[in-house]
C-alpha cells in the first residue's frame, strides 16, 4: 500500500496562494484514511482549474468536457458499481452543467461531487459564475450585478440531493469532511469554498476568515449535511431490473397458406384517431406473411394521437419490396373522414379496378373504382373495430387475402380476451350483405 495516492511525477501546479491545492491534499488524506488503492478510485474532472485535479492523482482519471463530468461519472459508476467515483468541478462547471447537477441529485447514484467554488471563472480571466456575489468586481463588467447567485447546497437540496454540505478549503477538518461525503452511499455534494488569488482576490477582498464567517452565518441546513434516507440509485436500478420481464422478440410468422394471387397489392387504410388503424395495418401485414408474402407498413398520424387522421399504408408482394411509397393503391379501406381528407389526392389517381371499402357517413371524392359499402355501425360493431372489420370484408372478397390468412394473423397478434373478441368479429361481418 503506498503512503499517498498523489501523483509523484506531477505535483500540483496551482497559482501561489490558490486554495485548490489544499483540497488536493485533503482529498488524498481522505482516500488514504479509507484505505483505498489507486485502482479503486476514479477522478472525473471538468474544465477549468478544477479540471487539473485528476492529473495530480495516481488513480484512474477521466477528464472530459465542460459541465459534463457528472454524466461520464454516472455511466462509469453504473458500469463499475464497486469503483469510488469522485467528480471535481468548479462553480463554472456547476453553471454550464446545471441540468446534469439536478439530474444527479434526483438520481442519487453513489458519486461524490466536490465543487471547487471560488466565485469566478479563474482560467478564462475572472468572469462571473453562477456563485459570484452581486457586489463583486469581476471581468464581466456590470453583468454579475444583474443576476442572483445560487447557493450550491440549497440548489442541490431542491433537486432532492440526499447529502449536501458547505465547507471552507481552509478548515482543518476538511479531510474528514470529504471522507464523510465519500462514505455516504448516494450522491454527495460538497460546496468547498476557496480563494482564487490569480483573478478573484485581485479586485475583491476575500480571506479564509471571511469564508469561515460567511459559513457560520448561514443557516445550518445550508452548510451541514442533513441525512436524507434514500436508497442508492445503482442498487435500486439493479433491483428493479431483476423484476422486469424479458423482452419479447418481434412477432414472427411462418408461411402456411397459399397466397390468393401472384399480384403485388398496395393498400391504404384511411381512418380517424382511435379506430386502431395501425393495429389493423399490422394484422394485414401478418396475414400477408402467413401466405409467404413480403410486406411493408408505413403509418401516418398526428402528434395529438387522440385526434385527427390515422393512416396505414401496406404493401403485400410475392417479391422483395423496393420502393415503400404508395401513390396508386389497389385497395382503400375508407373508414374515417379525417384519413380520407388527408389523402384526397390519392382518390384522383385511382385505377378503375381499384377496390374501396367504405363505411356509410364517410364522404369520398368522386372516384373510379368499385365501392363496397359496409355499415359496421348497423351491425353493432364498435368504432375501434371498424379497421379490423374492414379487413374481414376484404378477406370475403378474396382477391387480396383470405379468411385463413387473417385468422392466422389475428392469432399471432392477440391473446386471451382480445383474441376472442377479434375472432368473434368474423361472425358479425358474415351477416353483412
Amino acid at each position: 500500500m503506498p503512503d499517498s495516492l498523489l501523483n509523484q511525477s506531477r505535483p500540483p501546479v496551482f497559482c501561489p496562494g490558490c486554495s485548490h491545492e489544499r483540497v488536493v491534499l485533503a482529498l488524498n488524506s481522505a482516500l488514504m484514511n479509507m484505505g483505498l488503492a489507486a485502482h479503486q478510485v476514479a477522478i472525473v474532472s471538468d474544465i477549468g482549474c478544477s479540471g487539473l485535479f485528476d492529473t495530480f492523482f495516481n488513480t484512474h482519471a477521466l477528464h472530459g468536457l465542460h459541465g459534463r463530468a457528472l454524466t461520464y461519472a454516472a455511466g462509469l459508476k453504473l458500469a463499475c458499481p464497486d469503483l469510488t467515483v469522485i467528480v471535481t468541478m468548479g462553480d463554472g462547471g456547476l453553471g454550464i452543467g446545471g441540468a446534469h447537477l439536478l439530474s444527479a441529485c434526483r438520481r442519487n447514484l453513489d458519486v461524490t461531487l466536490l465543487v471547487l467554488n471560488n466565485f469566478n471563472y479563474g482560467m478564462t480571466g475572472g468572469q462571473f459564475s453562477a456563485t459570484t456575489p452581486v457586489d463583486a468586481a469581476v471581468e464581466s463588467g456590470f453583468l454579475n450585478r444583474l443576476e442572483t447567485p445560487v447557493d450550491v447546497c440549497r440548489l442541490a437540496q431542491a433537486a432532492g440531493a440526499a447529502y449536501t454540505a458547505a465547507c471552507s478549503s481552509f478548515q482543518k477538518n476538511l479531510p474528514q469532511e470529504i471522507e464523510q461525503a465519500l462514505r455516504f452511499e448516494g450522491f454527495a455534494v460538497l460546496d468547498i469554498r476557496g480563494i482564487c488569488p490569480g483573478r478573484y482576490t485581485k479586485k475583491n477582498k476575500l480571506s479564509p476568515k471571511m469564508i469561515e464567517k460567511e459559513l457560520a452565518h448561514q443557516p445550518l441546513e445550508q452548510t451541514h449535511h442533513l441525512p436524507i434516507n434514500r436508497k442508492e440509485y445503482g442498487r435500486r436500478y439493479r433491483e428493479q431490473s431483476a423484476l422486469q420481464k424479458p423482452a419479447q422478440p418481434p412477432v414472427s410468422m411462418l408461411p402456411q397458406h397459399p397466397a390468393p394471387s401472384n399480384a403485388r397489392w398496395e393498400i391504404m387504410i384511411l381512418g380517424d384517431a382511435g379506430q386502431r388503424v395501425q393495429t389493423a395495418g399490422e394484422i394485414l401485414c401478418l396475414a400477408g406473411m402467413s401466405a409467404g408474402l413480403r410486406v411493408t407498413q408505413k403509418n401516418d398520424y398526428h402528434i395529438t394521437v387522440l385526434r385527427g387522421p390515422s393512416i396505414s399504408e401496406i404493401i403485400l408482394s410475392p417479391d422483395e419490396i423496393d420502393f415503400t411509397g404508395i401513390t396508386k393503391p389497389g385497395v382503400i379501406l375508407a373508414i374515417g373522414q379525417a384519413g380520407v381528407n388527408t389523402r384526397q389526392k390519392v382518390f384522383r389517381q385511382l385505377d378503375p379496378q381499384a377496390m374501396i371499402i367504405q363505411t356509410p357517413g364517410v364522404d369520398l371524392p368522386t372516384v373510379s373504382g368499385s365501392i363496397h359499402l359496409a355499415d359496421f355501425k348497423d351491425l353493432g360493431i364498435k368504432r375501434e373495430d371498424w379497421s379490423l372489420a374492414a379487413l374481414m370484408v376484404l378477406a370475403r372478397l378474396g382477391t387480396v387475402l383470405h379468411k385463413d390468412m387473417l385468422r392466422s394473423a389475428i392469432q399471432a397478434r392477440f391473446k386471451s380476451t382480445a383474441l376472442e373478441s377479434a375472432l368473434a368479429l368474423f361472425e358479425k361481418v358474415e351477416i353483412l350483405k
Binding site: 506531477r10 489507486a38 485502482h39 476514479a42 472525473v44 485528476d54 492529473t55 488513480t59 484512474h60 482519471a61 477521466l62 477528464h63 472530459g64 468536457l65 459534463r68 457528472l70 454524466t71 461520464y72 454516472a74 455511466g75 462509469l76 459508476k77 453504473l78 458500469a79 463499475c80 464497486d82 469503483l83 441540468a99 446534469h100 439536478l102 439530474s103 436500478y237 428493479q240 431490473s241 422486469q244 423482452a247 419479447q248 422478440p249 418481434p250 412477432v251 414472427s252 410468422m253 408461411p255 399490422e282 401485414c285 401478418l286 400477408g288 406473411m289 408474402l293 413480403r294 411493408t296 407498413q297 408505413k298 401516418d300 402528434i303 419490396i321 423496393d322 420502393f323 415503400t324 411509397g325
Partner: protein, 374 residues
C-alpha cells in the same frame, strides 16, 4: 423460414443486443424514440443498463462513461439531438472512445418535421466534430440493414476505438417490414485491441505501424488515464507539436488506412452498365425499382447503393463506374454527397437529383431524371 415483422428502430435495438451492447442512453425524440423504447424493454431484464438522459448531451456522456469502463454502448437521436451531441462526438473521436450513434434523420433544418424523413445530416455527421477528423458513417437501406449495419457499427467502433454513426431515416426507422432475422442469435464481433503485456501500459500508446492503441478499462487493476485534452501516448495533456502531430496523423490514418474493412456492400452488377445510379439509404430502393423498369424498356443501368458513406469508399466508386459515362446521384436532400462523387469522378458526367420536402423520392421521378439527361 420464419419472418418477423418489425421496424428499423426495433431492428437497430436488436442488432445492438446481438452485437453485445449492454448500455444504452437516449433522450426521447421522434423518429428515434422507438430505439429507446426497445432498448428499455431489452436491456434491464437481461442485466444491462438503459437510461433516459436529461438531454442528448447527457445521454451520450453516460454512454462514454460506460464505454471507458469497457462496455459496448449506443445512443440514438435525430437532427436536433445530434446537433447537441457535437462536443461529445469530438470527445469520442479525439479520445478514441468506442460508441455507436444512431441518427434517425428527420426533415430539417432545426426542429424541422418530427415525422417526416430526409437524409439531411450526411455532411453534418462527417464534419460535426471540432478538429474535423474522420468518422465512420453507415447508411441502412431497409429494416434488415438496420440490424446488420448496427452489428457492423459495433465491430468497427470496437476494433477502431472510435464513434460510428448509423445514418438511419424516419422512412426506414418507422416503417415495418417482413424480415428473415433471428434477433435472439448473438453476433459476436470484433473487440477492442488489447495492449501488449510486455510493455508498461500507455492509454494512447502504439508500437510500430499500429494505429489503434490497446485498450484497458477504467476500473480495472491497471490505472488508466482518459482525457478530452490534447494528449500524448500517456494520456497527459501536451503542448509538444511533434507529439501532437503524431497523434493527429494517427487518428486520420486509423480510419482511412483499411478501406477493405469498412467499405460495405456495393450492389453487384453483371454486365457493365451504361449508367449508374449512385445513392444510399432509403432512396436506394426507389433507385432499384427505377432501374428495373428502365432496363425493361431496353436501358442498361445499375444501382450502386453505398452503405459506407464515410470514409468515402473511393475505390469502389471508381471501380464500379469504370465503364460508365453517366452517373446519377440521387439524394433525399438538396445536394450533399454529390460533392464527394464529383470529387472522386472529376471526368465523368455526374448528374444530381435531390428533393427534401418530407416525402420519398419515387421511382418515376428517378426514371424521368435518367430519361431527360443529356
Amino acid at each position: 423460414m420464419s419472418f418477423c415483422l418489425m421496424d428499423g428502430n426495433e431492428a437497430v435495438a436488436w442488432g445492438a443486443w446481438a452485437a453485445g451492447c449492454r448500455f444504452f442512453a437516449g433522450y426521447p425524440i421522434t423518429p428515434a424514440t422507438g430505439i429507446l423504447n426497445a432498448m428499455l424493454a431489452i436491456l434491464p431484464p437481461a442485466g444491462g443498463i438503459c437510461l433516459q438522459g436529461e438531454d442528448e448531451i447527457a445521454s451520450m456522456g453516460y454512454c462514454l462513461g460506460a464505454s471507458v469502463a469497457g462496455m459496448k454502448v449506443m445512443t440514438a437521436t435525430s437532427g436536433p439531438g445530434i446537433s447537441l451531441c457535437s462536443e461529445q462526438i469530438s470527445f469520442a473521436v479525439g479520445s478514441e472512445i468506442p460508441i455507436v450513434i444512431v441518427d434517425v434523420q428527420r426533415l430539417g433544418p432545426s426542429t424541422g418535421s418530427a415525422t417526416r424523413g430526409a437524409d439531411g445530416d450526411i455532411q453534418f455527421l462527417r464534419w460535426g466534430n471540432s478538429g474535423g477528423l474522420p468518422v465512420f458513417v453507415l447508411a441502412p437501406t431497409d429494416v434488415k440493414d438496420c440490424f446488420e449495419l448496427t452489428v457492423e457499427a459495433f465491430n468497427l467502433s470496437e476494433a477502431f476505438r472510435c464513434p460510428v454513426f448509423v445514418a438511419s431515416n424516419k422512412e426506414i426507422a418507422m416503417t415495418k417490414e417482413s424480415v428473415a432475422i433471428d434477433v435472439r442469435q448473438p453476433r459476436p464481433g470484433r473487440e477492442r485491441p488489447a495492449p501488449r503485456p510486455d510493455l508498461p501500459y500507455l492509454p494512447f500508446g502504439v508500437n510500430g505501424d499500429q494505429k489503434v492503441p490497446g485498450f484497458l478499462p477504467i476500473g480495472g487493476r491497471t490505472i488508466v488515464r482518459q482525457t478530452s485534452s490534447t494528449h500524448g501516448p500517456d494520456g497527459y495533456i501536451t503542448t509538444n507539436p511533434e507529439e501532437i502531430a503524431l497523434v493527429q496523423q494517427r487518428l486520420l490514418e486509423k480510419l482511412q488506412g483499411a478501406p477493405e474493412f469498412f467499405s460495405l456492400y456495393p450492389e453487384k452488377t453483371n454486365a457493365p452498365p451504361d449508367f449508374i445510379i449512385l445513392t444510399y439509404g432509403v432512396t436506394s430502393r426507389a433507385a432499384r425499382a427505377a432501374v428495373k423498369l428502365l432496363n425493361q424498356e431496353g436501358r442498361n443501368g445499375a444501382v450502386l447503393a453505398l452503405k459506407t458513406l464515410w470514409p468515402v469508399p473511393e475505390e469502389i466508386i471508381l471501380t464500379q463506374t469504370r465503364h460508365v459515362q453517366q452517373v446519377f446521384v440521387i439524394e433525399m436532400n438538396l445536394g450533399q454527397y454529390i460533392n464527394e462523387i464529383q470529387r472522386v469522378l472529376p471526368h465523368k458526367q455526374v448528374h444530381f437529383h435531390g428533393r427534401m420536402d418530407g416525402t420519398l423520392i419515387t421511382p418515376l421521378e428517378i426514371m424521368e431524371v435518367v430519361r431527360h439527361a443529356r
